[in-house]
C-alpha cells in the first residue's frame, strides 16, 4: 500500500455550516502536499481531516489503512503517535517549559531510555538554537522561537508523516530560513508532509503536489513540478505571485 492517506467523498460540517464538500484525494508515501486557498476556504479543516483530528460528516478518511470513522480512540492514539502536527498558533503546553514540551512525546510514549531522551532533547534544542530557552515557558518566547519549539516537539520522535498549518506565517526572515532548512532536511529523509502555505518559492522548492481549495471543494490538484499548476494557482490568487 503506497498511499498513506486516502480521502473518499469527504464532507465535513460544523456549527450548521458545510465546510468541506465531497473531497476525494490520496497522499502517497514521500509526497509533500501543499494546500492553498483563500481565507475561509476550508484549508485548516481539510488538514485536520487528513490528520484525523476532525471526523468527516460523510465519506471516510483512511490513515495508513485505518478508517478514521471506525477507529477506536486507542487506535487513533496509536496513529497519532507516529504522526506529527504543527499548529499555526504553535499550541505548546503553556504550563510546561520548552524542555518539558520536547520531552513530552518521548516520555509519554516511552520512545527511548532516560539518558538517550536527554541527549535527544539537548541535540534538538541545539539544532533549533533554543538551548538558552530550555527552562523558559512558551509565553516568554517570541513567535518564531515558539514555532521552532513546536516543530522540534513534532519531529523529535522522527514521525514519517507530518502536518503543518502555515508554518512560516508572521515570521521574520531568520526564522523562516531556519524552518525552511528543517523542511528541506525532512524532504531529504522522504518524510510525507501536508502543509498549508501560500509561499510560491517554498511550494516550488519543497512541494510535490498542490491542492487548491475553493469554497470547501478541491477545485484543483496538480504536481508542483508542472508550471501550469503554479500558474493556475497564481492566476487565482491563492499563492504569492513570486
Amino acid at each position: 500500500m503506497n498511499n498513506i492517506i486516502k480521502l473518499e467523498n469527504v464532507t465535513y460540517s460544523a456549527g450548521g455550516f458545510t465546510i468541506l464538500q465531497d473531497i476525494s484525494a490520496r497522499v502517497d508515501n514521500g509526497d509533500i502536499i501543499f494546500i492553498a486557498g483563500r481565507s475561509g476556504s476550508g484549508k485548516s479543516s481539510l488538514l485536520k481531516i487528513c490528520a484525523g483530528l476532525n471526523y468527516p460528516t460523510a465519506g471516510d478518511v483512511y490513515i495508513r489503512g485505518v478508517s478514521v470513522r471506525k477507529a477506536t480512540n486507542s487506535q487513533m492514539r496509536d496513529l497519532h503517535e507516529n504522526n506529527g502536527f504543527v499548529f499555526q498558533d504553535c499550541a505548546l503546553i503553556s504550563n510546561m517549559t520548552i524542555y518539558q514540551n520536547l520531552e513530552l512525546p518521548l516520555r509519554y510514549n516511552n520512545i527511548c531510555p532516560e539518558n538517550e531522551m536527554k541527549d535527544r532533547i539537548d541535540a534538538m534544542l541545539s539544532s533549533l538554537q533554543l538551548q538558552d530557552d530550555r527552562h523558559n515557558r512558551p509565553a516568554q518566547l517570541s513567535l518564531g522561537e515558539k514555532r521552532l519549539a513546536a516543530i522540534g516537539r513534532t519531529i523529535i520522535n522522527h514521525p514519517d508523516l507530518i502536518y503543518l498549518d502555515e508554518p512560516l506565517v508572521s515570521l521574520d526572515s531568520t526564522h523562516v530560513k531556519k524552518i525552511v532548512d528543517i523542511l528541506l532536511a525532512l524532504k531529504e529523509k522522504k518524510t510525507t508532509m501536508i502543509l498549508i502555505s501560500h509561499r510560491t518559492r517554498l511550494i516550488k522548492d519543497i512541494g510535490s503536489h498542490l491542492w487548491i481549495i475553493d469554497n470547501g471543494r478541491l477545485s484543483y490538484s496538480g504536481r508542483t513540478a508542472d508550471q501550469e499548476t503554479l500558474d493556475y494557482a497564481i492566476q487565482n490568487k491563492v499563492i504569492d505571485p513570486y
Partner: protein
C-alpha cells in the same frame, strides 16, 4: 403556555444530558485505573500530586482559619440558645453533629469551588482555546488520563483531607472556647461527646458527602472548561458556569445524602 412548557422541557433535557455526560466522563476516567498497560503514568502521578498540592495544601491555611472562626462562633451562639431552653447538655453533641455532617463538607466544598474549581475550568478552557488539548491528541496522549482523571482524584483526595482538618480545628476551637467561657462545660466531657458522635453512620455520611462533592465538583469544572469555546463569553463564562454549577450540585447532593441518612 405551550412555549413555556417547551422551555421547561428543553431545560430539563439539557440538564439530564449534562448529568449523563458527567456520569460517562466519570466512568471512562476511572476505567483507565484498571488498564495496566496505559501510557503516561509518569505524567499522571506528577499532575495528581500537583493537584493535591494546589487544591489541598495551599488551601489549608484558609480552611483552618474558617474552621476556627466557625467553631468558636457556633459554640457561643448554640450555648446561649440552648441554655435559654435549659438544654445545655445537648451542646456538645449538637455542635459536633452540625460540624461533622453539615458545615465541614459544605464550607470546605465552597472554598474549594472558589479556589480550585475556577482554576480548573479556566486552565482547561485556555488549553482548548489555544489548541493545547488538540496538540496533546496529536502526540498520542490520552487526554482523559492526562488531564481529567488526575484532577478528579486530586480534588477528591484534597477535599477529603481538608474536611478532616476542618472538623478537627473547628471542634477543637469550639471545645476550647466552651471550656474557657462556661464554667459548666468541661473540655474532657466535650472530647468524650465528640468520640461518641463518631458512629459508623455519621462517618459514612461525612465520607460520602466529601467523595460525591469532590468527584462532582471536579467533573463539572472540567466539563465547563472543555466547553469554554462554546460559551459566548469564552473562558470567563466557563469559570462562572463552573462555580454556579458546582455550588448547585454540591447543595443538591448534600440535601439528598442528608435525607437518605435521616430517613
Amino acid at each position: 403556555m405551550l412555549r413555556f412548557s417547551g422551555i421547561i422541557g428543553r431545560s430539563v433535557i439539557a440538564r439530564l444530558n449534562f448529568y449523563g455526560g458527567m456520569m460517562a466522563l466519570i466512568f471512562y476516567s476511572f476505567l483507565r485505573l484498571f488498564n495496566p498497560r496505559i501510557k503516561g503514568k509518569y505524567y499522571f502521578k506528577n499532575i495528581l500530586i500537583q493537584q493535591i498540592y494546589f487544591t489541598g495544601w495551599q488551601a489549608l491555611k484558609i480552611i483552618i482559619l474558617i474552621a476556627l472562626i466557625v467553631g468558636g462562633v457556633m459554640i457561643a451562639q448554640l450555648n446561649e440558645f440552648l441554655m435559654g431552653y435549659g438544654q445545655g447538655k445537648l451542646l456538645g453533641s449538637l455542635q459536633v453533629t452540625l460540624i461533622l455532617k453539615h458545615l465541614a463538607p459544605i464550607l470546605t466544598a465552597i472554598i474549594i469551588i472558589a479556589r480550585s474549581g475556577t482554576a480548573i475550568a479556566t486552565e482547561l478552557g485556555n488549553m482548548i482555546e489555544k489548541h493545547e488539548v488538540e496538540a496533546l491528541e496529536t502526540l498520542g496522549v490520552d487526554t482523559i488520563y492526562f488531564l481529567v482523571l488526575p484532577r478528579i482524584l486530586g480534588m477528591t483526595i484534597a477535599i477529603f483531607i481538608l474536611n478532616i482538618f476542618f472538623i478537627f480545628f473547628s471542634v477543637l476551637c469550639s471545645f476550647v472556647v466552651a471550656s474557657l467561657l462556661y464554667d459548666n462545660i468541661s473540655f474532657h466531657n466535650l472530647v468524650e461527646i465528640f468520640f461518641n458522635q463518631l458512629s459508623y453512620m455519621n462517618l459514612l455520611e461525612t465520607v460520602l458527602k466529601t467523595i460525591f462533592s469532590g468527584v462532582g465538583i471536579a467533573v463539572i469544572c472540567i466539563i465547563n472548561g472543555f466547553k469554554a469555546t462554546s460559551f459566548k463569553g469564552g473562558v470567563p463564562v466557563a469559570g462562572i458556569n463552573a462555580v454556579v454549577g458546582s455550588l448547585s450540585y454540591m447543595f443538591l447532593i448534600h440535601l439528598i445524602l442528608t435525607f437518605i441518612f435521616v430517613l
